[in-house]
């Protein structure tokens, strides 16, 4: 009972704030609603006993990436976006497509509901600590993808440093 109330609370909050991200005119307001949407999703993770996923969502997305988003947005001139028209003349086409896609989803769920076994959450007592589980899986079954992702990140990091250095050298040459 309480679980269901919590789920609908978090789910509704996530959907509502996701809609508001798109419709808010002020970019900072959009960012705030995006943070709310991310936190609501984190709440759903927590309810599924995926504690590690919850904390990663909290630290990485809400705490790390969004701080940088807000940081950049605050440096941008907001007046332009405040006076722009938000919807163009073809909004009805978009609406039509969205409705068709939505109908597809509804039909797919309605038809496939009986054939698709929905995963049941395991009882809380039977779960191992999820942090250890995630760590063990990452470093055994998914070792290679994990390492490849790390190398990719490293490449991106080095690339960013190289690009920043180049600009500085050019700026120095101009002086």
């Amino acid at each position: 009972m309480l679980e269901q109330i919590l789920f609908y609370f978090f789910g509704g909050l996530a959907i509502l704030s996701a809609v508001l991200v798109v419709t808010a005119k002020n970019v900072v307001h959009s960012a705030v609603f995006l943070i709310t949407a991310l936190l609501a999703t984190a709440g759903i993770f927590l309810q599924l006993h995926a504690e590690f996923l919850f904390i990663v969502q909290l630290i990485l997305y809400a705490g790390g990436i969004m701080v940088l988003f807000v940081f950049v947005i605050m440096l941008v001139n907001l007046d332009v976006s405040l006076h722009q028209v938000q919807f163009n003349r073809q909004w009805w086409l978009g609406l039509l497509l969205a409705l068709v896609l939505g109908a597809h989803l509804v039909i797919a769920i309605a038809v496939g509901r009986s054939g698709l076994p929905l995963g049941q959450p395991a009882p809380a007592a039977s779960l191992e600590p999820s942090t250890q589980l995630v760590g063990r899986t990452l470093f055994t079954s998914y070792m290679v993808p994990f390492e490849i992702a790390s190398v990719l990140l490293l490449v991106a990091m080095i690339g960013a440093v190289v690009m920043a250095k180049k600009q500085r050298r050019e700026a120095g040459a101009k002086q």
Partner: protein, 441 residues
């Protein structure tokens, strides 16, 4: 309806704890402010607040009343909603972070599997209160303060996180209770296993809580009051409350991970069991000091008040001493771990906060480029080296059969060597940068 009540039952005791924290925290924060002013006064050879109540003991309450009665100003051009919500956000996240911290083995709202990460993540969300508040004020000082704060937090959180990883390697768990239990089992606090990690966390936690010498987001000589410039009255008080609550949170993290949590010093050595009497003795000493000062108070009311404070500490001493003298197995004796654990935990937190104050009144403020260089070029590489060193020490101890002392001693000395190397490299760079300027002059 009954189903709802039934499923809400396990939440009743944690909810009670939460209410206690929400009610007590403002009072505690007020008295930390008083402590700070007293420490500052002591270091500057003054008396500090002495007027409101004996030794200024009622000053926090007077301040709180004053702040509540002040005019609440919202700037015309401010973003009203965000201006309103930002300070609330700061306080909420700080209080939420406290919920996963174990104050003693009993008093804890939630023992999460990801406890320490939860505290870190939630308290990092508090930055939105500062950034959004600074932006919503629509003032240049506020915005600059907010930007500085965001940059500072992003830079130092990495170092703080890596420093904590060093301790977590020793603990092997993220749950606050298990971290302390491991320290009890090892018989050694983790500060002795990872002293460099503790040092990095100390520095980074000062930067994260925006306190001097890293208080650039609110540097009063440059930015008036930084992100708080446009705030007044109760909202300003909320920011202040959040700052002090965050200090308690970082102190609690450091205490849990490095300083043995609620463990008594030498908790596993029976020869030091006499330390069990220390809590009650400390309270008695404070009570005795209060009674000694009673005749010296100038006004009758103050005499009475100080006597009441003395009696209060006598009562605390009685509560702390009662489990020691009660017969074994009784209910009173069973309360000992909870009571004494809370005492030692809070004592360590207070000492950590005292170090914060000590540093604040000893060091001048850093320049922003110095702050960034210290964070990125010294603390972060050092914290990564520290994680590797502790990992190697653990392998040496557990797999290669080295003794605990030589393994950790060797690796910590190596980490210190890395620190010296980084420091000298930084100095050399600084010199190379400054030399042409000297030549020009």
């Amino acid at each position: 309806m009954t189903g709802l009540l039934e499923s809400a039952k396990p939440f009743l005791l944690p909810m009670l704890y939460a209410v206690v924290i929400v009610l007590v925290l403002p009072l505690v924060a007020g008295y930390i402010v008083l402590m700070e002013r007293k420490v500052m006064a002591d270091m500057q050879v003054r008396l500090g607040p002495m007027r409101v109540g004996p030794h200024g003991l009622l000053q926090p309450i007077a301040d709180a009343v004053k702040l509540l009665l002040k005019e609440d100003i919202i700037p015309d051009e401010a973003d009203k909603l965000i201006f309103w919500i930002a300070p609330v956000l700061s306080v909420t996240t700080a209080m939420l972070a406290l919920s996963a911290i174990a104050i003693g083995p009993v008093f804890q709202i939630a023992d999460l599997n990801v406890g320490l990460l939860f505290v870190l993540g939630v308290s990092a969300l508090g930055i939105y209160g500062i950034v959004l508040g600074g932006w919503a004020s629509n003032s240049h000082y506020s915005l600059l303060g907010a930007l500085r704060s965001a940059a500072q937090l992003v830079s130092y959180e990495t170092a703080a996180g890596m420093a904590l990883v060093g301790g977590l390697l020793l603990a092997g768990s993220l749950s606050t209770k298990e971290i302390v239990a491991t320290q009890a089992g090892d018989g050694v606090w983790f500060i002795f296993g990872a002293p460099v990690g503790f040092f990095i966390y100390l520095v980074a936690s000062i930067a994260e809580t925006n306190r001097a010498p890293f208080d650039l987001p609110e540097a009063e000589s440059e930015l008036v009051a930084g992100y708080m410039t446009e705030y007044s009255g109760f909202r300003w008080a909320l920011y202040f409350l959040a700052e002090y609550a965050n200090m308690i949170v970082v102190a609690a993290i450091a205490t849990t991970l490095f300083l043995g949590g609620w463990l008594r010093p030498f908790s596993s050595t029976p020869a030091f069991n006499f330390l069990d009497y220390a809590p009650a003795a400390l309270m008695l000493v404070i009570a005795a000091y209060c009674f000694w000062r009673v005749p010296k108070q100038p006004v009758q009311v103050q005499k009475g008040f100080l006597a009441v404070v003395g009696l209060l500490f006598m009562g605390l001493a009685a509560i702390l001493a009662a489990p020691l003298f009660a017969s074994a197995g009784s209910l009173v004796a069973a309360a000992k771990p909870g009571l004494h654990g809370a005492f030692w935990f809070l004592l360590k937190v207070t000492l950590y906060i005292y170090v914060f104050m000590w540093l604040r009144f000893t060091f001048p403020r850093y320049r922003f480029d110095q702050l960034m260089r210290l964070g990125w070029q010294f603390l972060i590489p050092l914290s990564i080296a520290n994680v590797m060193a502790i990992g190697i020490a653990l392998v040496l101890h557990r797999e290669s059969g080295w003794g605990r002392v030589p393994a950790f001693l060797l690796m910590n000395v190596l980490t210190l060597g890395v620190a010296a190397l980084l420091a000298s490299a930084g100095e050399k760079k600084e010199k190379a940068k400054n030399e042409p300027m000297v030549g020009e002059a």
